[in-house]
Amino acid sequence: MIKLAHGSGGEKTRELIEKLFLPAFKNPILEKLEDSGRLNGIAITIDGYTVKPIFFRGGDIGKLSITGTVNDLAVCGARPKAIAVSIIVEDGFPTEKLEKIVSSMAKISREVNAPIVTGDFKVVSKGEIDEIFIITSGIGEIFYPSLGADRVSAGDRIIVSGPIGDHSLAIMGERYEVELPQGFESDCAPILKLVEAITQVGGIKWMRDPTRGGLAAALNELAKAINKEILIYEDSVPFRKEVLNFCEIFGFDPYHLASEGRFIAVVDKEKSEKILSELTKFPEGKNAAIIGEVREKSKGRVIVKTKFGGLRLLDPPTGELLPRIC
């Protein structure tokens, strides 16, 4: 039976991909399980958006749907060229809301120079879906082809482009009725400029945007793919204090929170400082940090070195994020 957890980007999602989709659709491009499929100099990607609430601090489902797609292309070293969208709304959905969402989509699409060239719109009976779903597909031109988990080797450094988890907090803050500080926003934004800048430096081997499942999901996926150990220095991970405090209150693991405008890059050790300094030139990259390294150990797992010097296994998220009493 399919459960919510199967769609959460965690271990269950991976299981379903490995057991159902991969065998059924078997082909060498899909098998790489990257954010976009890459073939002959182009990359193609698709994603469905069902975020609740549809308007949140720092964005809405429209902004998210275009951003997510262009970011999926960017982490595959591709510049978006064109976007296709499908919008499904529930009977009775307010026109003003739809207008707002569409204008956010248009804005981001212009910003990254990726026109929305085709689309589809459907209305379903009330209750069949929750307000609105958006499915976005993008096609991009690959400008940095030398990416892939197979290029990652021991000694490589792990970089994140900024604080992680702000998007989840902006979303979950509403669900848990917390009041966030003035100006706290989702990180939802295109990352293309930053990716372009660091690819100029070179030495980048693998990139991923830590969306659903957060750092924990992305890093575990990489560790399993390369069958090596990833060590994360807890002190260096740039979580914002609001994110950490929110997690402490409700019992969430900050490594499981999602970002929609950040990326993880695994880079050559020699180039890591230069790449970091490129990133920090951008306002959205000013908190970028080297957070860990790849280690030569034949165990596909992620270890966190805690502030107290202890070691902890970072397991992949196993489903929905749930608040805890203990």
């Binding site: 459960k3 019992g251 902890r312 196993t318 929905e320 608040p323 805890r324 009493i325 203990c326």
Partner: protein, 351 residues
């Protein structure tokens, strides 16, 4: 440094302590404190996780109710959602279309009932003395506001009776007592246990320094045969505890014999709703019968919870039993002993 101080204490004999509370287990692992204990001192993990000790039958009751009637809504703390029972987890029941919601606070469940008179909102309540007063409050509030569609399914448990059971076995030399349970029950309860079973008790906070300090104190008391209680968490724990919360518990609940998963029935260790508030008792409203559900015989949770063995001594630990596929309850809750050892465990060597 405090840590070195602890490490260098000369201990005359082997001492076996127990941390009762799961948060202590996690923090001891997380802060890597085990390396700081003198060699003769061992600290075993106890039954201090309300999730781990909630019987499998509780999960089944919740699932069955959720699937029986689409007007029934099961609400519970997030911790309970993924605990496996004989017919799956509450999260599974949700996937099958049952109305199951996890909440951060029982107040959410109460307002759900208030806003949806056509639904019957059942709160599956777990937790120790720290959590139970909120349940007592919710029942009183429901009565006050005449909310007739809110019900509590109480699996609340009390910590001291379990400690007494473990102390009576005579294998322990001291207890690291749970800080947050103590904010409610105060310090005197432990004094009785300490005297009766000749076992020192130290109430500890949750920071690394708190725990180290409490351990130093515990070793000192054990060595001096000081069978008493020491409050090392005075900033939060008062001698008399939280009188308002105690009053609420007494008003709404009565002490009953209660089953602890993996341990068995412990006399007077659970809380059931008093007759006066029977209208809000889900066990009565929905005619719930107690059911015995055998555990997977290979799971050694009972022995882990009683401190007989360390989690890694269970043959399934880290093999067929891991957090993604838990066999026993101790592997599920993030504060469960097996999960804590698995995630932070001594098995991770930084070589």
């Amino acid at each position: 440094m405090l840590g070195e101080k602890l490490k260098n204490i000369k201990v005359k004999r082997h001492l076996r302590f127990m941390e009762v509370c799961g948060t202590h287990t996690v923090n001891i692992c997380r802060f890597g404190l085990r390396n700081l204990f003198p060699e003769e001192v061992e600290l075993r993990s106890g039954p201090g996780c309300p999730v781990c000790v909630t019987p499998a039958s509780a999960i089944k009751i919740g699932i069955d109710l959720a699937l029986k009637n689409d007007k029934f809504v099961i609400t519970t703390y997030g911790d309970m959602m993924k605990v496996p029972g004989p017919n799956g987890t509450l999260a599974d029941a949700k996937a099958k279309g049952g109305k199951v919601f996890s909440v951060y606070s029982i107040t959410e469940a109460l307002s759900l009932a208030e806003k949806n008179e056509d639904l019957k909102v059942i709160f599956l309540a777990v937790g120790f003395e720290t959590t139970a007063p909120a349940s007592a409050w919710a029942i009183k509030e429901a009565k006050l506001k005449n909310i007739k569609n809110f019900f509590l399914l109480s699996f609340h448990k009390l910590v001291p009776p379990a400690m007494e059971l473990l102390a009576s076995e005579g294998t322990l030399d001291g207890f690291l007592c749970p800080g947050h349970v103590s904010t409610i029950i105060g310090t005197e309860v432990y004094k009785n246990i300490a005297r009766k079973y000749k076992i020192p008790c130290v109430i500890s906070g949750f920071e690394a320094e708190d725990i180290i300090f409490a351990m130093i104190k515990l070793i000192e008391m054990a060595e001096n045969e000081a069978y008493d209680v020491f409050n090392a968490y005075k900033r939060a724990v008062k001698k008399e505890g939280n009188k308002v919360a105690q009053g609420l518990l007494n008003e709404v609940f009565e002490e009953v014999d209660s089953e602890w998963r993996g341990i068995g029935v412990i006399p007077k260790s659970g809380l059931d709703i008093k007759e006066e508030y029977a209208d809000f008792d889900a066990k009565i409203a929905f005619n719930i019968e107690k059911e015995d559900i055998p555990e997977n015989p290979a799971c050694k949770c009972g022995e882990v919870l009683k401190g007989y063995i360390y989690p890694y001594e269970c043959p399934l630990f880290g093999k067929s039993c891991i957090p993604e596929h838990p066999i026993g309850p101790c592997m599920i809750s993030s504060e469960g002993s097996c999960a804590a050892y698995y995630r932070y465990g001594g098995r991770l060597k930084d070589d």
